[in-house]
């Protein structure tokens, strides 16, 4: 059966930052059912690559990226406004997806272990909890392609396990996940490792 149309296709990406060449002629395609982990030592350009693939960085690199369909990008920062409550953060999120009903928001917050915290101001939450508010969007949004930058940071072991099973469930449902992380994924699903070493992508 012909391979399904890729959700994301990048061709001969080349990026150098401050005179240092991070990667050259990197091409990749991510289709439905792909669970891809981007690995590599610090400073090798994983975040820069992810931002280019997401379409956040538009300048400073050569090569082309085509995306079909909507994507969800979760970056290092938690994108949670401290003065708003978790419910308001998710309801009024600037990510452009639709407005979620209260039930959906409460369900998502419960999934990430924030049951009961829906209406406390976010600045009273810990850093890990604030990241969980952002991760709750994984349960809310309908984009097939997820680009996640270090999703497990500041999340406890139970949370990490739950996230990994969510990724598998999403990928089996026809979605795709590209994430950067230093922790190996403990999932019984084929993980495509993409390691970025100095100057080229294996």
């Amino acid at each position: 059966m012909t391979p399904p149309a890729p959700l994301l296709a990048a061709r001969s990406l080349t990026l150098s930052r401050g005179g240092r060449e991070l990667f050259r002629d990197l091409s990749l395609a991510i289709g439905p059912g792909d669970l891809v982990q981007l690995e590599g030592p610090n400073g090798v350009g994983k975040t820069s690559l992810l931002r280019i693939l997401a379409g956040l960085s538009r300048y400073g690199y050569e090569g082309a990226v085509e995306r079909s369909g909507a994507l969800l990008y979760l970056g290092h920062k938690s994108a949670v406004k401290a003065q708003l409550t978790p419910r308001e953060n998710l309801a009024l999120h600037v990510g452009g997806e639709g407005s979620h009903g209260d039930a959906a928001i409460e369900g998502a917050l419960a999934e990430v272990g924030l049951y009961g915290y829906e209406d406390v101001p976010s600045h009273t939450l810990s850093a890990g909890q604030q990241r969980r508010v952002n991760l709750a969007r994984l349960y809310l949004c309908s984009s097939p392609l997820w680009l996640l930058d270090e999703p497990f940071t500041a999340i406890d072991r139970a949370g990490v396990g739950q996230l990994q099973s969510l990724f598998v469930q999403h990928v089996e449902g026809g979605g795709a996940v590209l994430l950067t992380s230093h922790q190996p994924l403990a999932v019984d699903y084929p993980v495509r490792a993409l390691t970025l070493s100095q100057g080229s992508a294996a």
């Binding site: 930052r17 401050g18 005179g19 300048y59 400073g60």
Partner: protein
């Protein structure tokens, strides 16, 4: 035509072509400047009202004219770099900015020195001088914005946007300053010689304006060559150039 446009994008070709243009343009410019200055300073009769101080017109007006035109050159280079994403346009824009600022400063300085004998004060809030001061701020804004960025790729794109915004605003600023000046001092003479000056004074002025345009082109090409070397320091053609110890 398209291959020319494409070749414009390759640094070594641009470096070479700029060098050959300069070999002819620079001497011509220097001669034109010297001839124009000597002609204006020594061989024209003084203005019956202002006396000899009007001779400053031969550097004040050309500097002002080219400084303003320089901003449009910079904005055009910025537009090319934003729309067609050509690296060479970034180099051209970065080369044009300091020269424009320098010429604007020259125009301001000579204008204020000219004001002293004519109007008795060093600084006159005349329409032309005020607009020139605003132009200097616009230039300094572009230069300061470029320096403020660490990522030089983003810096040139940001300066391209700023210079385009400035380009749209320049006519508005010039018109409103002119209107403001006429509101507060309607009956004073037009300061920078819009009044008809007879032909014996006009020819040296036209020569000097052309010479200043050529000088702007020369300085810009030189800046571009230096900028190319700095940006392409790690590439082969620059190392070969350096190895040969080319002049």
């Amino acid at each position: 035509m398209w291959s020319f446009f494409h070749k414009l994008g390759s640094p070594p070709w641009l470096y070479g072509i700029a060098g050959s243009i300069l070999r002819y343009l620079l001497p011509v410019t220097v001669i034109a400047l010297v001839v124009g200055a000597v002609w204006g300073l020594l061989f024209t009769a003084p203005d019956f009202r202002q006396g000899n101080s009007y001779r400053i017109i031969y550097i004040h007006v050309p500097a002002a004219v080219v400084a303003l035109a320089g901003y449009y050159v910079m904005a055009a280079a910025g537009a090319v770099s934003l729309i067609w994403r050509m690296k060479m346009a970034d180099v051209a824009m970065k080369a044009a900015a300091p020269i424009g600022a320098a010429l604007t400063f020259v125009a301001l300085f000579t204008g204020s020195v000219w004001g002293k004998p004519t109007w008795g004060t060093w600084w006159v809030w005349d329409a032309r001088i005020t607009s020139m001061l605003v132009l200097l701020f616009l230039y300094l804004g572009v230069v300061a914005l470029y320096e403020a960025f660490d990522n030089k790729e983003a810096a040139s794109k940001a300066c391209a946007v700023l210079s385009l915004v400035g380009m749209v605003n320049i006519p508005i600023i010039y018109k409103s300053v002119d209107w403001w000046y006429s509101l507060h001092q309607p009956a004073s003479i037009k300061f920078t010689g819009e009044s008809t000056i007879d032909s014996s004074m006009l020819y040296p002025l036209l020569l000097m304006i052309t010479a200043f345009y050529c000088l702007f082109a020369c300085a810009m090409l030189m800046n571009m060559r230096a900028e190319l070397l700095e940006r392409e320091a790690k590439t082969g053609w620059v190392r070969k150039l350096a190895a040969e110890g080319a002049h």
